[in-house]
Every structure is written in structure tokens, then in C-alpha cells.
């Protein structure tokens, strides 16, 4: 059988069915079919490295193919789906709040959060949880996956990422943002949240409280969605929350030594000294995640 004929067989299957094709080969004459198939697996070894160079995945022996599919294939599918859905979720959750705030600022376009806080959201504060989900999450151990190959079906029937799942996550994000914003708004509406009668003033005070609650909810949601918590997952989640607190404290003290963010000066001091903030921190993220907890149960 010539390389061209091998490629044509794969092409025939691709065109006549809707299925995803995988081709595995170890020689130079398999390169054609490896490249034509959706997923090409090359065996590195006896007949040289051409097949391996042309492939998407390279394994050492034919028998490793089962582990590649049943373990890593399924893990990879589930992880990718989670990362995708989670990335949409966390951004929708934060940015939709600007819409709710617009109802209260005359639709003038004033943002609730400080602009660098927003910019660093995806870069620092919520970067680690999706990485932990994408690199480390696994529904079952490798041995279990190999023992029950029927579990491979999970990755074949679009169960983890389809239109229904996607919109459910988006609505979940909107639901969280509603709870987070409006509960914080009602909690801070009467302006006096310190025992010494000082008025907190400043939409940024509300913004920073809400932002802290968002970080908590979003990071804990990653934890809730995670099927396995390794120590790195713990670091990703608690570390992200800690990084926000650290950033907040530092950022609230730099003006006017550094000519940046005059409106943040003193924020950390006044937010952390307000009991309303801490009581809200206990109540509001738990309220937001209650439904998710029940749903996962």
C-alpha cells in the first residue's frame, strides 16, 4: 500500500462520516496518512523519525496508544473544556458589573473598579486557577481510566462543551455578578461603615469591596469545578486571593511617592477597617456559590 493510498483511505473516512479520525504509524510511508487524519500519532523508533516529526503526538511504542487515548486524551478534553468555560465565566462575572453600576451612575460610563486593577485581573489575580485546572485536573487516576475504557465515551459525545453547557456557564456568571454587585450595593448604601462616623465616599470603595468578593468567588469556583486538588491547585487558588490582598495594600500606599493612582490612596486602610467589608466577605461569596455547591452535589 503506497503512502498516497493510505492518505486517501483516511480522506475517504473523513468525507463520508462526521467522525474524528486518528492515524498511527511508524514509518516514512505513514507520513501522508498521519498528516491527513485529524489526529496524527507517530511512533518514534525503528524505522526512523519521519513519522514522529510529521505527527501531532509522538509515542515510543504502539502499545502506548491506549494510554494516550484513554488517559491523556480524556484528561486533555476535560481540562480544555473547563479552562475555556472558566475563562469566559470569570471575565463575564467581572465586566457585567459595569453594566449594573451603569444603572446607578446615570449611564455615564464611569467604571466601578480602578483601571489597573481591571488590567491585572486576568494577568495576575485569576491567571493561576485556570492554569491549575488545565494542567493538573483529573477526574480519575490513570489506573482507573485504563481499567474502564468505556470512560473514553465522555470525550466522544460532546458532554463537556456544547451550546447548552456554554450558555449555562454564561448565565451562571451573570447570576454571580448580580448577587455580588447588588448585595454589596445594598450593604454599603447608607455610607457610614465605620464606627467613627466617617463616610466612606468614593465609588472605588464599593468597587474594591466588590472586587475582593469577585476574586474570592471566581477562585473558589475554580476549586469547586476542580475534580482533584493537588498542592499546586491550593497554591493557585489561595495564592491568587493572597496576591490580590497584597497588591491592594501596596497599591493603596504609593501616591504621591509614585505619581500613580491618587484615588486609591488610603483605600486598603479604610476597607480593611470596616466591619461591613469583613461581614460581607463572609456572607456574599457564600451566597453566590451556594447554588453552585448544590448543583455540583
Amino acid at each position: 500500500v503506497s503512502p498516497k493510498q493510505k492518505a486517501e483511505v483516511v480522506e475517504l473516512i473523513k468525507r463520508s462520516t462526521d467522525d474524528i479520525t486518528l492515524a498511527v504509524g511508524d514509518g516514512a510511508n505513514d507520513v501522508g496518512m498521519i498528516q491527513t487524519a485529524h489526529v496524527g500519532v507517530g511512533i518514534m523508533g525503528r524505522e526512523g523519525v519521519q513519522a514522529a516529526c510529521a505527527s501531532d503526538y509522538t509515542i515510543g511504542q504502539f502499545r502506548f496508544l491506549t494510554k494516550l487515548l484513554f488517559v491523556h486524551g480524556v484528561w486533555s478534553y476535560r481540562r480544555l473544556c473547563k479552562v475555556l468555560l472558566y475563562s469566559f465565566y470569570k471575565n463575564i462575572c467581572l465586566y457585567v458589573m459595569e453594566l449594573w453600576f451603569a444603572f446607578h451612575n446615570g449611564f455615564s460610563g464611569q467604571i466601578l473598579f480602578e483601571r489597573w486593577t481591571i488590567a491585572i485581573y486576568n494577568v495576575l489575580f485569576t491567571a493561576a486557577p485556570p492554569m491549575a485546572l488545565g494542567l493538573l485536573d483529573r477526574c480519575c487516576s490513570a489506573e482507573t481510566m485504563m481499567r474502564f475504557p468505556a470512560m473514553y465515551k465522555m470525550s466522544q459525545n460532546r458532554s463537556d462543551f456544547n451550546i447548552k453547557v456554554f450558555w449555562t456557564w454564561c448565565l451562571n456568571a451573570v447570576y454571580h455578578s448580580i448577587i455580588l454587585y447588588f448585595m454589596s450595593y445594598a450593604m454599603l448604601r447608607h455610607d457610614v461603615v465605620h464606627s467613627n462616623g466617617i463616610v466612606f465616599g468614593s465609588h472605588l470603595f464599593l468597587g474594591n469591596c466588590v472586587y475582593t468578593y469577585v476574586i474570592f468567588v471566581v477562585c473558589l469556583k475554580a476549586g469547586l469545578e476542580s475534580d482533584s486538588w493537588t498542592f499546586l491547585t491550593h497554591i493557585a487558588i489561595w495564592g491568587s486571593i493572597a496576591s490580590w490582598f497584597l497588591f491592594f495594600i501596596i497599591y493603596s500606599n504609593i501616591w504621591p511617592t509614585i505619581p500613580l493612582a491618587p484615588e486609591m490612596r488610603g483605600m486598603a486602610k479604610y476597607v480593611f477597617s470596616s466591619l461591613y467589608f469583613w461581614l460581607g466577605l463572609l456572607l456574599i461569596p457564600i451566597t453566590a456559590l451556594l447554588a453552585d455547591f448544590i448543583y455540583n452535589w
Binding site: V193, L232, P256, L283
Partner: protein, 352 residues
């Protein structure tokens, strides 16, 4: 033999290319795999319910203990003492808002004594200090007392372009719209002693607002006062130079733009001496208003608010009731799922 030699080399090559056999790289990291079962979830709901409900009750009681008295003095309550049968709002409108002033006296009674520290606020309704164009209309460098032209964000309140061409000090819409009513309280015929210090954020006062060098010259000759101001910044509290100019606490409080269109700002604090040692006693009071600030043209409203505080802050029962509500929801969830769990367990038992 050549075959063996090649295999050995291959082995060595393979050894160097083989990824490290660590737990991290081979996806073997030990993990806690939480599966939420009835045995783990039900206690969670029970604990949340049992802690939240008492917290909520404590918060509601604390909020109920805070005493507050509001007086809306926008229009009908505040009748001008000079013009007959006109509200102060009307008097200002009749003079076409050319800086006319108006005084009124409002009698009211406190039917409970306000014990402890008492705080006086002015409240504004339908006033959007959180509007985007308004929020950015300030110059924080100027407020630090630094040299230099006023920032362009302050426009159209950056400089007196129709008149002297000098920069406004302070520039910007926030500063220009500073609240300028004076509100004082009489207990019978006695003045209620108040202080205008300690009302702003301590970080603002210490760090963000500083008077420039040679302040009196700065405010009177090199810069103009904002168009809506009657006095210049250096006349805000002349007896007290630390509370004058940019460092005036009323000004600092105003510059912290409120989050919502209904807000209050701390105006004065009760000085607890002689008659007012324990707070504000029960009885008849008079609020004397110098009505300068027009709000009726945009359907705004003004209030004078007298309030005590609790260890939490002002009067806001929302948090307390939320805790109670969430606690009750958790308890209901616990009960429902507990019953379901028990019934299913019974159903799942194999037949005898």
C-alpha cells in the same frame, strides 16, 4: 558487534530524551479528590445555617439601636425668614441663582435622647457625584500644592478664560460644586457645640491635600476662586490655618466623590461638653439653615441627618436581614435534603 553497539547508543539516546520521572511531569501528583456526598454537604449547610442566623440577629439588633433623624429641607420645610410665603428654593430661583442667600429656621423635636457620639451629615438625593465626566474633573497634583498649570481634565473649570486668565484653585467640576449651605443646631436657645475637625479620611488629610507655599498669595493673587464659590479657598476657615485652603476638611470630604446618587457626607461632630456631655438630650431643637446650594433645578433634594453609630457603623439593617435569610435558606436546604437522603437510603436497602 555493530548491532549491539547501535542498540547501546540508542538506549543512551533514549535515556537522554526520556522526560523526567517526577510526580509533576508524569501527572502523578497526589490529589484530594473531593466528591460532594450527603455526608459532607449536609453538615456544611447545617453549620452555615446555625452560624448565620445568630450573626444576622445580632446585626439587626445593632442596627435598630442606631438612632437617626432626617430633615428634608429642600423646599417646603425651609421657608425664607425674609421674603414672606416663599421657600428658600423659590427665593434662589427668583434671584436667578446669582449667589443669593436665604436663611430659614426649622423646628423639630427629638423624642429620644441620642446617647454617645452624635454625627451630623448633609444628605443629597439625585446628585450624581459618580458621573464619569464629573469624577475625573479634578487635579490631584494641584491639591498637593504643587506648582504648575491646572490639569486639562478640569475643563471647563480649569482657568478663568473669560476674565483674568488665571487658573482656578482648586480647579475642576468637583471642587466647583462644593456644598456651601451652613447648618447649625440650637437646643432651645443654646448653640449645640460641634467640631468641624476629624470628619475627613485621615489619609486624605495627611497625604493627599497640602497647601502650597505662600498660600495666601497663591489663593488671592496668582489664582482665582472657582466660579461658583463665594469665598476663596483661603477663607474657608481663617482662624485655623491647618484647616484652611486645600486642607479644609469640609472641602476634603466633598472631594471624595460619593458612590451612589443618594449619599450623605459628614458635616460636623458633636462636641461633648456641658449640656451635651452624654449626647443630644431629648427635647426641642431648631435647625438654622443658610440656604445657598440650589438643587431643585435637577429634582435634587437636601437633607440634614443626625445619627449615632454602633460598633459597625450607621443604620443599615440589610446585612443583618441577609444573614438571617441565607441562614434560613441553608436550614431549609438541610432539612429537605436530609429527608430526601433518608428516604432514598431506606428505598435502596436490599429486600430482606
Amino acid at each position: 558487534m555493530p548491532g549491539q553497539g547501535e542498540t547501546e547508543e540508542d538506549h543512551e539516546q533514549q535515556k537522554s530524551k526520556k522526560p523526567a520521572d517526577t510526580a509533576f511531569k508524569q501527572q502523578r501528583l497526589p490529589a484530594w479528590q473531593p466528591i460532594i456526598t450527603a455526608n459532607t454537604a449536609l453538615p456544611v449547610f447545617l453549620i452555615i445555617g446555625l452560624t448565620f442566623i445568630p450573626i444576622g440577629i445580632v446585626l439587626v439588633i445593632t442596627s435598630e439601636r442606631v438612632l437617626e433623624h432626617d430633615i428634608d429641607y429642600t423646599d417646603t420645610n425651609c421657608m425664607s425668614t425674609t421674603a414672606a410665603n416663599t421657600t428658600c428654593a423659590q427665593a434662589l430661583e427668583n434671584a436667578n441663582y446669582t449667589g443669593q442667600t436665604c436663611t430659614c429656621r426649622i423646628n423639630f423635636a427629638l423624642d429620644k435622647s441620642f446617647d454617645g457620639d452624635v454625627y451630623f451629615y448633609y444628605g443629597l438625593i439625585n446628585y450624581y457625584q459618580n458621573h464619569r465626566r464629573y469624577v475625573r474633573s479634578r487635579d490631584d497634583n494641584q491639591l498637593l500644592g504643587k506648582e504648575g498649570a491646572a490639569a486639562s481634565e478640569c475643563q471647563p473649570f480649569q482657568k478663568n478664560s473669560t476674565g483674568s486668565g488665571k487658573d482656578y484653585a482648586p480647579c475642576g467640576a468637583i471642587a466647583n460644586s462644593k456644598f456651601n449651605d451652613t447648618l447649625s443646631l440650637l437646643y432651645g436657645s443654646e448653640n449645640v457645640s460641634v467640631t468641624n475637625l476629624g470628619i475627613a479620611w485621615s489619609t486624605d488629610k495627611a497625604v493627599k491635600f497640602k497647601n502650597p507655599d505662600n498660600a495666601s498669595n497663591y489663593f488671592s493673587s496668582t489664582h482665582d476662586k472657582p466660579p461658583n464659590w463665594k469665598l476663596s479657598a483661603w477663607e474657608l476657615d481663617e482662624p485655623n490655618p491647618e484647616n484652611n485652603g486645600y486642607q479644609n476638611e469640609d472641602f476634603i470630604v466633598w472631594m471624595r466623590t460619593a458612590a451612589m446618587p443618594t449619599f450623605r457626607k459628614l458635616y460636623r461632630k458633636l462636641l461633648r461638653n456641658s449640656t451635651f456631655q452624654n449626647g443630644l438630650p431629648k427635647g426641642d431643637y431648631t435647625l438654622v439653615v443658610t440656604y445657598n446650594y440650589p438643587v431643585t433645578s435637577f429634582a435634587g433634594r437636601k437633607q440634614f441627618i443626625i445619627s449615632t453609630t454602633s460598633w459597625m457603623g450607621g443604620k443599615n439593617p440589610f446585612l443583618g436581614w441577609s444573614y438571617i435569610a441565607v441562614g434560613i435558606v441553608c436550614m431549609i436546604t438541610f432539612v429537605v435534603f436530609f429527608i430526601l437522603h433518608k428516604t432514598w437510603k431506606i428505598q435502596n436497602r436490599p429486600p430482606m
